[in-house]
Amino acid sequence: MFRKITRRASKFAAVAAAGLLAMSVQAADPIRIGSFLSVTGPASFLGDPELKTLQMYVEKINEEGGVLGRQLELVHYDDAGNASKARNFASRLIRSDRVDIIVGGSTTGATMAAVPMIEQAGVPFISLAGAVVITTPVKKWVFKTPQSDRMAAERILTDMKSRGLTKVGLISGTGGFGSSGREQTLAVAKEMGGIEIVADETYGGSDTDMTAQLTNIRNTDGVQTILNFGFGQGPAIVTRNYAQLGIELPFYQSHGVASDGFLELAGSNAEGLRLPASPLLVPESLPESDPQKPVVEAYKSEYEARWNSKVSTFGAYAYDGLNLAVKAIEKAGSTDKEAVRDALENIQGHVGVTGTFNMSPTDHNGLEADSFRILEVQDGGWKLIN
C-alpha cells in the first residue's frame, strides 16, 4: 500500500516537473528593464515624456514579438526629482527587482546619486541626463543619450565664429542648467580661441526683469552678440527685455528652450534668435538625405498619436536609451550584464532621434556636437540653418 502511494507520488512529481519545464520553455522570463524617472516634482517636464515614451515603446516591441523571443517588462519608479529617492530606487531595481538593464535618471543629480551603486553592482545603465560629469571621466557601466551642455556651447560658439561674431556677452540663469552651461561656455571659449566672452551676467530663477543685466552687456565695449544660457521662464523674459530694449545684436539661446512652448511664451520678440536644437523640432525641413529624418518623423507621429500631446526632446532621450538597450541585448544575444555592456560600448552608427551614436571605450555618449541643429526663429516658427 505504502509503496503504491510513493510510486504514484513520484509519477505525479515527474509529470508536474515536466509540465513546469514545458511552461518555462513556452514563456521565457521577460527581460526586465528598470527605470527611475522624475515623473512628478520640479523636473516632471523631463520625466513625464520619458516615461510615456518608455511605456509606449515597450508595448510596441512586445507586440512585435519582444527581444530575443522574450517579452520586455518595464519596472518603473518615480524619484520626484529627489536624489536620495533616486538612489533608493536604483538600489531597489538592482537588488529587489533584479533588472537586466536600467534606462533612467532624468536629472544629473538623480543620475549621479545612483551611479556609485550601479557601478558597484555592475548593471548597464543608460542615463537620460545632460551634464558632462556623467560620462567624463568614463565609468564602466554608465552611458548616456543626451548631448552635454558642453556640445551645445561648442555648437553655438562655432556658429558665432562662422558669422564673424567673436565678442560675446553672456547672460545665464543661476539654476543647475544655466550655471553648468555658463561654466562650459567659458571653458569652450577659452579652448577654442579666437572668441572672447566680454560680459558675464547672471539672473535668478524667479527674477522677473533682466533689463539691468542686458543694459550692462549692451554697454560693454565691442560686444557683438549675446548668448543666454538658461531654463524655464527666465529665457523668455530675457527675450522680451531684449526686444523692449531694442538691442540690435544677433541673439542666441541655448538648447534649454528649444521647444514650441518657448515660442508661444516669447511670441514675436523671439524673431531672429538662434539656438542649437534637436532635429525633432523641424522634421519636415530635414533634407531627404538626412539618415535621421525617418526616425525623427516616426517618433514624432507615433508619440503624438498615442498620447495626444506635443512630442518633446526629453522623451526622445528615453526613446534613444531604450533602443540602444534593445540593440545591445540583441547584439549580446543574452541579458548577461557583462556582454550587454560590451555590446553597448561597441554600438556604431546607431541612428536615433537625438543624433547618430558611435559609442567607444573612451566615449559613453557617442554623440558629436553637430547632432545639434542650429535653428533660427522666423515668422513665429523654426527655420533650419544648418
Partner: protein, 335 residues
C-alpha cells in the same frame, strides 16, 4: 517584575535596542538594509527635533537646513580637503551649533507663526546658498561624499567586514552602525529630558510666562535646546551624506524640513519612541506605495490626513491611550 520594568525610565530604549538588533534576523536584502539605515539616521535627527518641538514647544520649519549644512560641511571637508570623517563631523557640528545659536537668540523671541516664518527663512537661506555656491558645493547637481572612516578604517556599503568572527556585508555593517547611533541619540535625549533642563523645557512648553515667573531663564533654555536639536540634525546629516555617497541640495530643502516636522507630529510630539515610529512610517510608506505609481501621492496624502483626523495626538500616544483605556475598563469589570 513586569510592573517594575514598566516603571523603568529607559524602557523605551531597551525596547528599541531589541527591535534594532532583532531586525537583521528578518531581513537579508541589501536594499532593505539600506532603507533601514537611512530610516535610523533620519529617525535620530527627528529625535533631536522632537526636543525642540515636543518638549520645549517651539517650532522649526527649517531643520533640513541644519541637516544639509552638516552633510555639506562633512562632504566638502572630506572630499575637497582630505579630512578624516570624524573631525569633519565634529567641526561641522560645532559650526552648525554656532550658526544655530546666532540665529536662535533673536528668532526664539518670536512666537507662533512668526517663529515658524523665521525658521522657514533660515532653512531657505541655507538651501539657496548650497544651490548657488557652485564652486564649493557643486550646485544643484550635487557632490560626491567619500565613505565614512574612523582612524583609517573605512565603513563602506560596498565593503566586507568581520565582527566577532562573523562575516558581515557593508550594508549590514552600516545598518548596525546607524542602529547604534540611533540608540545613543535616544539615550542622550532621554537623559536630557529627565534632567533639570528637561523640566525647565517642559515648563516653557506649558506656559512661558509661568516658567519665567518661577525663575526659569526661558530665553537661555530655548536657545540651548534649539542648538542641541540643530547639532543632532547636523551630525545625522553628515552620516547620511557618507552613507548615501552623494548629496544634492535637496537634503536641505523645504520639503525635507516639512517631512521631519511631520514625522514628529505623526509619531506623537513629546514621545521619543513615538517620533521614531513616525520616522519609520514616513520613510517606508513611499516605498510601499511606489507600486501604485500615479496613486502614490494620493494614497500618501490620504493616510496622513486620516491619521491626523482620527489620531490627532500622534500614533504612539493614541495607541497608548487606547491600551490604557481598555486596561482600565477590564480592571473596572473585575471590581
Amino acid at each position: 517584575m513586569m510592573a517594575r520594568f514598566s516603571d523603568f525610565r529607559l524602557k523605551g530604549l531597551v525596547f528599541l535596542a531589541i527591535v534594532v538588533f532583532a531586525l537583521p534576523m528578518f531581513i537579508s536584502n541589501p536594499f532593505h538594509y539600506g532603507l533601514a539605515t537611512q530610516t535610523a539616521l533620519v529617525a535620530a535627527a527627528v529625535v533631536g527635533l522632537n526636543l525642540l518641538v515636543g518638549f520645549a514647544g517651539q517650532i522649526s520649519l527649517g531643520h533640513a537646513g541644519f541637516f544639509g549644512l552638516g552633510a555639506y560641511f562633512s562632504a566638502i571637508m572630506t572630499s575637497n580637503y582630505g579630512w578624516s570623517a570624524i573631525p569633519a563631523l565634529v567641526l561641522g557640528a560645532v559650526f552648525v551649533a554656532i550658526i544655530a545659536w546666532i540665529v536662535g537668540r533673536p528668532i526664539l523671541r518670536l512666537k507662533g507663526h512668526y517663529l515658524s516664518m523665521a525658521t522657514l527663512a533660515v532653512g531657505f537661506i541655507i538651501a539657496i546658498i548650497l544651490n548657488n555656491e557652485r564652486e564649493i558645493t557643486g550646485g544643484p547637481d550635487g557632490m560626491p561624499v567619500p565613505s565614512f572612516d574612523v582612524f583609517g578604517w573605512e565603513l563602506s556599503v560596498f565593503g566586507q567586514y568581520s565582527l566577532f568572527g562573523m562575516d558581515i556585508s557593508g550594508d549590514l555593517a552600516w545598518y548596525l552602525f546607524a542602529g547604534v547611533v540611533l540608540l545613543v541619540a535616544v539615550w542622550l535625549a532621554q537623559n536630557l529630558i529627565d534632567s533639570p533642563i528637561g523640566r525647565a523645557l517642559r515648563s516653557v512648553h506649558g506656559s512661558e510666562v509661568a516658567a519665567s515667573v518661577v525663575g526659569v531663564n526661558t530665553a537661555k533654555y530655548k536657545s540651548l535646546v534649539f542648538v542641541i536639536s540643530a547639532v543632532y540634525a547636523s551630525v545625522m546629516g553628515a552620516l547620511y551624506g557618507h552613507f548615501q555617497g552623494f548629496i544634492t541640495p535637496s537634503v536641505a530643502s523645504f520639503d525635507f524640513s516639512i517631512l521631519l516636522i511631520t514625522m514628529v507630529v505623526l509619531g506623537g510630539m513629546g514621545s521619543t519612541i513615538g517620533v521614531i515610529i513616525g520616522a519609520v512610517v514616513l520613510e517606508l510608506l513611499p516605498q510601499l506605495l511606489a507600486d501604485f505609481q500615479e496613486m502614490e501621492m494620493v494614497l500618501f496624502g490620504l493616510i496622513l490626513m486620516l491619521t491626523m483626523i482620527f489620531m490627532p495626538k500622534g500614533l504612539l500616544p493614541t495607541a497608548a491611550n487606547l491600551l490604557a483605556k481598555r486596561r482600565a475598563k477590564s480592571a473596572g469589570g473585575d471590581a
